[in-house]
């Protein structure tokens, strides 16, 4: 949960200020705890909700402040533009996703299962938070060059998880990998995920897990072994 950062702890059952009562959980796809009485976070949540309704281009600052239940002045205390608010939202969501993926990955004993757990964590996050999924995988692409650049580096940031797969492989296997193997794998995976989200098929994302695991592990383990890991359990 994004609100679990050290500076804004929010416990279950905390008495929320009246403004917060206007944002029932689930309407914007964000858990209540996320929508802390921290204004910046509420603006980010408001942006996610506004974009889910209107798309990036159609979202105005008025939409954002209405969903966040804050004043226009408050918006400008935190951000100078919609784009800037979007970048903050994007960074926040991606940090959360990276944390979940990293944690899931680290909990496994062997690399193939770590990859499987990492991809599962990513898909699980996107399914659980559909408006955030749209925000970071789809709307990010239409939000201008600054955000596209971040989308780019977010994708690149997953490359190391796959590169680790080279460790301990035979010279034969290594010889078949190229400098861009990991990029192509991650790019292909992200491209498939974002196209499902664009098509409104976010709920199906978790069903992609076996395919994605098999696809990404194959260059390192061979198809038979990759398929085994992908289809088990």
């Amino acid at each position: 949960m994004v609100a679990d950062s050290a500076d804004t702890p929010v416990e279950q059952g905390t008495e929320y200020p009246p403004e917060l009562a206007r944002l029932p959980p689930g309407r914007h796809g964000l858990p209540r705890e996320f929508v802390a009485h921290n204004q910046r976070e509420r603006l980010i949540a408001g942006l996610a909700e506004a974009i889910a309704e209107n798309g990036y281009a159609g979202t105005t600052i008025a939409h954002i402040t209405r969903h966040a239940a804050v004043s226009r002045r408050t918006f400008y205390e935190h951000f100078s533009s919609k784009d800037e608010c979007f970048v903050a939202a994007y960074d926040t969501v991606m940090a959360e996703m990276r944390e979940r993926v990293g944690k899931a990955f680290a909990e496994e004993d062997d690399w193939p299962h770590a990859v499987k757990a990492g991809i599962a964590a990513m898909l699980g996050f996107l399914v659980a938070e559909p408006s955030l999924a749209r925000l970071c995988m789809v709307e990010a692409l239409v939000a201008g060059p600054v955000v596209v650049e971040r989308y780019d580096s977010a994708i690149q940031s997953f490359v190391p998880y796959f590169r680790t797969g080279r460790e301990g492989r035979s010279p034969d296997v290594l010889a078949r990998l190229s400098a861009t193997t990991e990029e192509a794998l991650v790019g292909g995976m992200m491209s498939l995920i974002s196209r499902r989200i664009i098509a409104g098929r976010t709920a199906e994302l978790e069903s992609l897990l076996p395919d994605l695991v098999e696809f990404t592990l194959t260059p390192y383990l061979g198809s038979d072994e990759a398929a085994k890991v992908a289809r088990e359990g």
Binding site: A175, R176, G187, M189, P210, D211, F215, P219
Partner: protein, 231 residues
């Protein structure tokens, strides 16, 4: 390889942009000829402007100036910047697919077809850098219709790869989304090459992309062997 007199080629149009303007007065060229080339010239101008400034910053005045036409002429051909952009995407997608299919049909085996198709695709990207930038990079920022077009372009290449199931020992046990993922990966690597300013060298990526595409069907060893015949 392709004739520079091919009427569909933007290169031809762009190279000859200023000389293509028919002389004022009596036209010996047919209206249809002029119209077709005007449209292509406007598209070429949009691509150049988009590659320079990014889609959001381009205004119709920029396109008009670059194409050397009257504003009216723009609006006779397209209702808006977005409509022009979609036409450019449509043109490029159709042409890319045509070239890929054309190259693939000249060889017999499936792996050779993948090899020929990927090479033809990258060659097109390298030979039309502004158009490639417009349709592969900027397309994602140009609104929902454009994103949907991009999506359809990816789907259009799926059948070329799907044929691999008939020659793979895995057959239809291969993941259902495999082809989409492969095409998505190829587009992603191409996208990366363009944004890093390496469009001119993109054809050098062909062997690794061919290997990437063939590996799930034929195994890494066979894929590498086939892909490195490029050199």
């Amino acid at each position: 390889m392709e004739s520079t007199c091919d009427q569909g080629t933007l290169t031809f149009v762009a190279d000859n942009a200023s000389t293509m303007r028919p002389p004022p007065g009596r036209h010996q060229l047919s209206k249809a000829f002029i119209a077709q080339h005007q449209r292509a010239r406007i598209i070429a101008a949009l691509a150049e402007e988009t590659a320079d400034k990014g889609y959001r910053a381009v205004i119709v005045a920029d396109i008009v100036r670059r194409a050397g036409i009257a504003r009216n002429t723009f609006y006779e051909n397209f209702s808006s910047k977005e409509a022009c952009f979609l036409a450019a995407a449509e043109f490029a997608a159709t042409e890319a697919l045509r070239r890929v299919v054309d190259a693939a049909s000249k060889v017999d085996s499936w792996p050779a077809r993948v090899d020929a198709g990927i090479s033809a695709f990258l060659h097109y990207v390298a030979s039309e850098p502004a158009l490639a930038r417009t349709c592969i990079v900027e397309a994602l920022s140009a609104g929902p219709a454009s994103v949907e077009r991009y999506e359809r372009s990816i789907q259009a290449f799926v059948p070329l790869f799907r044929m691999g199931r008939t020659v793979s020992r895995h057959g239809d046990k291969l993941p259902g989304t495999l082809e989409e993922t492969i095409v998505g990966g190829i587009f992603w690597i191409t996208y990366q090459g363009i944004i890093m300013g390496q469009t001119a060298q993109i054809e050098e990526r062909a062997p690794e992309l061919v290997e990437f595409a063939l590996t799930p069907y034929l195994g890494g060893e066979a894929a590498k062997r086939i892909a490195s015949k490029q050199d």
